[in-house]
Subunit: 353 residues, 2 copies
């Protein structure tokens, strides 16, 4: 029997704290009976929620702390106030100490990234971390990264993103060699964007990488499922994510307005209710919940702050998969091989320049 | 009676050439009876189309050329083959010579921008051009720029984009002081993005500009109508546009699939047909057709290559408005005042640093 997957939860994170985190963990436990939980936060509040979930209670250990990082703390404030003592920090530190395999928090992104980086440090060969998440496409889900951890970055950074994103896609989607595309704009022979073209050369020069590089993908290629993994530096990746989310919300709103404007449309809605439910289900943002921090010595998963228990459970699912299918080992194997290749064959550098 | 608006059309541009351009111009003429047209391209093809549109024929002059830039020509190829002789070049040159007030082409973006830049040159005070377009939001339309003309750019470039975008919004939406937001990502205290923060300082330091700067806007703020004008450097702007367009197409496709899957949904569709039509109408990409090249000594409008006559007519509408409501004069006034301010008050530079 394989080892248990030990998940550390920041029980105070998010807009609703334990009242979402604990029921969410209970839902995830139902899907993954071999999970165990370390719950950090206000033990009175946590115990109250746990009382309603005896199965979860049996596989959980509660570690009390009074300190919680607020959703509005700036990263520097959070570090100052919350280092060593906050529920967020303690969950991450449990990963560092080897007491947990992964940490999940619905707390604020900037603070969580700052703490994760400070506590876990970046992997050898990785300068700067990234946030990756799944993106629903017409062809199933894709992994998109970086969604805003790091602004800018050179060709080597983009290559590292490709390696990490591909490892995540193979873990999540059970793919042998996921396809990888570099986010770019379509106009050719334009000034700027050299680092993207250079990254393409680096990726093409890799010796049998565990993914297939398919070249450049434009913004509308993300949603059409042009590649299993879409790589972008963090600014554009974040803009793409938010623009797409905003558009989806906007169209759903317009659709809702249109369906309630006339009697005929209302009747139509009644008949088509099942279809609307299926559609909503397909683009449910909760189902894409779970931003994975990549490039650190340990895995941290960020849940949306405003999610419900179902949404938080999806983030826990993601964290479970990352551990169960050895994300970090997969990333390190490729990185080590690449580093080894660069060290042992000095001509490799020339080959790609 | 005001002067006529003289519009130069690249009749060979786009996937369908004169068979879309001429009927499109005819539709636009119906809305703007004070427009005149210069039509560049294969006169046999153009005359054939004009025969069906006598009103348009009466206010048009056809200038024959055999050379057309293809949708696949790279900018450098297009310049080499098409300079001085192609329908695209001649339409732009008509603006330079003062024979037309504005040029419209559905030809390929890279070639059109290269030719426009080469022929018209950038405005004094503007280093690099931009592409701006309207974006349908829940609060009505906004102007978004740059959509991909220029990758990167410093704070001064972003400020120039704000000035030009605001002028376009006041022309298109008849606003005295449109609101302007800078596209940014939400995480604070992150490295990178200095040029955006610096641009915000430059905009705040402007003396009673003809717009109201409202600060940073995230990717989902574009579609929610957070500002009348959204300013971004060209890479992220293009990614945002394409990601949003892709998402819209994707949801419409999912909706269509869902509505045809069961009998009940099909019946629902019949009742709600009017509502669906209203929705489709609202997010019709043809209605947002017309990318305006800003920052040049003359106005060039780019239509989608694959649009139909209705879509092309919208691009002509946009070009008409730009001329009728003096876009270039408005831009130049603000730019000159800013340049003057910088020259006459040396302390202005210090005030914003």
């Amino acid at each position: 029997m394989p080892q248990k997957v030990r998940i550390a939860l920041d029980a105070m994170g998010g807009d609703f704290g334990p009242s979402v985190v604990i029921p969410g963990a209970a839902i995830a436990l139902g899907r993954h009976p071999d999970a165990e939980f370390l719950l950090f936060g206000d033990s009175a509040l946590i115990d109250k929620e746990l009382a309603a979930h005896p199965a979860l209670k049996k596989v959980s250990r509660v570690v009390h702390t009074d300190v919680a990082v607020s959703m509005h703390d700036k990263p520097s404030q959070a570090l100052r106030r919350g280092r060593k003592v906050s529920s967020m920090w303690l969950a991450i530190e449990a990963v560092k100490k080897g007491e947990a395999d992964v940490a999940v928090s619905a707390g604020n992104t900037g603070a969580l990234m700052a703490m994760a980086r400070f506590c876990l440090r970046t992997l050898p060969g990785i300068d700067r971390p990234a946030i990756a998440a799944t993106w629903p496409t017409v062809r199933g889900d894709s992994v998109v990264l970086d969604l805003g951890a790091t602004i800018g970055g050179d060709a080597a950074h983009l290559k590292a993103l490709a390696v990490m994103g591909a490892a995540m896609a193979s873990v999540l989607f059970d793919l042998e060699r996921p396809t990888v595309g570099l986010l770019n704009i379509g106009v050719e022979e334009i000034k700027g964007g050299e680092e993207i073209r250079e990254a393409a050369e680096l990726l093409r020069a890799m010796q049998s990488p565990p993914f297939e590089f398919i070249g450049f993908v434009e913004g509308d290629g993300i949603g059409s499922g042009a590649a299993d993994v879409i790589v972008s530096e963090g600014f554009s990746g974040n803009i793409a994510l938010k623009a797409a989310e905003g558009t989806a919300r906007q169209i759903i709103q317009l659709l809702r307005d249109a369906m309630s404007r006339t009697w005929s449309a209302k009747i139509g809605y009644l008949f088509a209710r099942g279809a609307f439910r299926a559609l909503r289900d397909k683009i449910d943002p909760n189902k894409s919940n779970g931003g994975v921090f990549l490039g650190l010595n340990g895995i941290v998963v960020k849940s949306h702050g405003g999610t419900n228990a179902d949404g938080f459970a999806y983030a826990v699912d993601v964290s479970y998969d990352m551990v169960r299918y050895d994300l970090l080992t997969k990333i390190n194997q490729t990185l080590n091989r690449e580093t080894g290749a660069l060290v042992s064959t000095p001509s490799a550098q020339e080959a790609v320049s």
